[in-house]
Amino acid sequence: MSKDELNQLIIDYGKEVYSFCCNLTGNRPEADDLYQDTLLKAVELCHRLDSSGNPKSFLMGISVRLWQNHRKKYAVRQNIVKWEELDGELMQGGEGSHLQPEEEALRKERRHLVRRVVKGLPDKLQLVLYLYYTAEMSVEDIGRALHIPKGTVKSRLHKGRKLVKELLEVQDYGI
């Protein structure tokens, strides 16, 4: 893979991969590491990237595998940099820039709460939610990336949504 090809990969998928890494790790230093490791691994496996036909799924699959393989390393870092402390500076984008200050504050509060709730879910549910909502992958692609049946992806999505809903209600999110 040439430098230009990697650059194109970053332009095409960098934002989704990085956002996914941020959600998965919950802190910026680890997100940076995971993002870097993901792209370098993709360079190493570029022959497979070409034939995968779906570069985004391929990159997310690498991220997940690296994450699962290096959980201990991440866990150590997690103790140093708390996710909550960084939440305020992560994920500031989205639809809110045109909103009034009060609405913007509400939106941020909601994002913060939802992200905390998702982060509290079992790993396997978190992973599917991030792949679906952050990486914007199809159920089929998630199944391939995680090596689980499509039905299991659906089931985890369903369960994840249900739990998030219940937890938000418990916290008087009040919709």
Binding site: M1, N23, V43, R48, G93, R107, G151
Partner: protein, 467 residues
């Protein structure tokens, strides 16, 4: 709160919003350039170097292959990063190609040592020192090679009968991957490094097992050559290991152990009798040993050997693939029979059916062959012989409530998986594979195999053992 709402909330809260800092991207690009010289560029130089050396030393049909994966990459492809690293650190790249008949094979490289792979098994405990050889195989007619192509890849050793000492008997196995129409196969077996003062070979043939028609063995010199009269593909590469690693004492001990194992009288003449302790295991509730990579059952009276091979492709799936409530698995075990007086073979199953299970691990790609098939003995190698056994169990057949099963989304996922898995176990335990061996004198020998499912509840793995 409606589900539609929670979907919107999750979408807006988790959507990709963070752009990687430019500094981080620059760092990635810089690191990529640091890594490149040791990887791709080197491979190009190695390929060129090999091309020159090969052109000088070996026939023109052998040449360097620059566009193929390296052994390290082939190992990564097979999901064995550890082995990939071993190929890179201590392995040797070879890159020799020979074209013969329908196939072009490239000997990519090898590595020797213990604990080099992520894949472990009983063979690794018996002989921790292993030899791994990476090979790339393509079809010469330009069509894409398939996993189903009948190919035998094995190392051979000068002075040791090749029909006896080959990958099948030396506790061997392989992993394969298909990339851009090229089949990459990494074979492994007991280490041959101790024999490195002898001529070592790597063969690739279009047969299921070692074929005495494809290769010639000179009893006097111990040398092995291709049979030029063989009409198919019979490729032979020299394997050149470091002669200083030869160890005559170790080699003699290995041969002694091998011969002892080879000549050991069969514990029985049928599958049922070969594992006499299994009934006791079952009675005490202890799990039986899984079928090893290759187990031979010998019927000495009739001169028959039955092999059961495990290709490590067993996979459990549940009915959510097809939106019904079934539970299934495909065992990638297949049977092979050898015997001079055998005329034909008929395999049948009381449950499930034979199928081909591609290594892409996608159940949708399976091909089914029904629950019975007959093959003439001589045609065993000429058919798509890579059969697996597929079992499907319907939950409703085991008395589970239809209403509950029809609405799995509302159930606890783990509990539902467990239920389906339990059903599968019952199905497997009532499955019997029957083999009818028709002899040339018209007599028919029958062998029956029944199975246990060894459950790893955590991972929902399927591993079968003979009952």
């Amino acid at each position: 709160m409606e589900y539609k709402d929670i979907d919107e909330i999750l979408k807006s809260s988790l959507s990709p919003a963070e752009t990687p800092p430019a500094e981080l991207n620059h760092r990635v690009l810089a690191k990529m350039q640091e890594k490149q010289p040791r990887g791709w560029r080197n491979r190009g130089r190695l390929a060129v170097a090999c091309a020159i050396i090969c052109a000088l030393l070996i026939p023109t049909s052998i040449y360097a292959a620059g566009r193929l994966l390296s052994p390290k990459e082939a190992a990564f492809e097979a999901g064995d990063d550890k082995l990939g690293d071993a190929f890179e650190k201590t392995g040797e790249g070879v890159y020799q190609t020979i074209t013969d008949g329908a196939y072009k094979a490239t000997y990519l490289g090898y590595v020797n040592g213990a604990a080099l792979s992520e894949r472990i098994g009983s063979a690794h405990e018996l002989n921790p020192e292993r030899t791994y050889v990476a090979v790339a195989i393509e079809r010469t007619d330009g069509t894409e090679i398939q996993y189903t192509d009948n190919l035998f890849v094995s190392p051979l050793i000068q002075g040791l009968q090749p029909w006896k000492y080959n990958i099948a008997s030396m506790h061997g196995g392989y992993v394969s991957s298909l990339v851009d129409g090229v089949l990459y196969r990494i074979i492994e077996c007991d280490s041959i490094e101790m024999f490195s003062n002898k001529q070592l070979y790597l063969i690739v043939s279009d047969t299921s097992f070692y074929s005495v028609d494809a290769y010639q063995y000179d009893e006097a010199t111990g040398l092995i050559t291709v049979n030029p009269a063989y009409p198919g593909t019979n490729i032979l590469f020299p394997i050149e290991l470091d002669p200083s690693k030869a160890d005559a004492e170790k080699a003699a001990a290995y041969i002694s152990r091998f011969e002892e194992e080879w000549n050991k009288p069969a514990e029985g003449t049928s599958a049922e009798n070969t594992q006499p302790d299994k009934a006791a295991d079952g009675a005490t509730g202890e799990a039986a040993d899984p079928i090893p990579r290759e187990t031979l059952y010998t019927d000495e009276k009739n001169g028959i050997q039955i092999s059961i091979k495990n290709d490590d492709l067993n996979g459990w799936y549940n009915g959510w693939w097809s939106d019904d409530s079934s539970s299934g698995t495909t065992f990638s075990y297949h049977f092979a029979v050898e015997g001079d007086n055998v005329e034909s073979l008929t395999y049948s199953l009381n449950k499930g059916q034979f199928c081909y299970w591609p290594k892409a691990a996608d159940p949708a790609l399976r091909k089914f062959y029904g629950n019975k098939y007959t093959v003439a003995y001589d045609e065993q190698e000429g058919i798509d012989y890579h059969y697996s056994i597929n079992v499907d169990a319907l939950a409703s057949d085991y008395g589970y409530d239809e209403a509950y099963l029809k609405n799995p989304m509302n159930q606890d996922e783990d509990a539902f998986h467990q239920l389906l898995y339990d059903i599968l176990e019952k199905e497997i335990e009532s499955m019997v594979a029957k083999l009818e061996i028709k002899m040339k004198d018209g007599s028919i020998l029958e062998k029956e195999l029944s199975f246990n499912n060894l459950i790893d509840e955590g991972a929902f793995l399927v591993e079968i053992s003979l009952k």
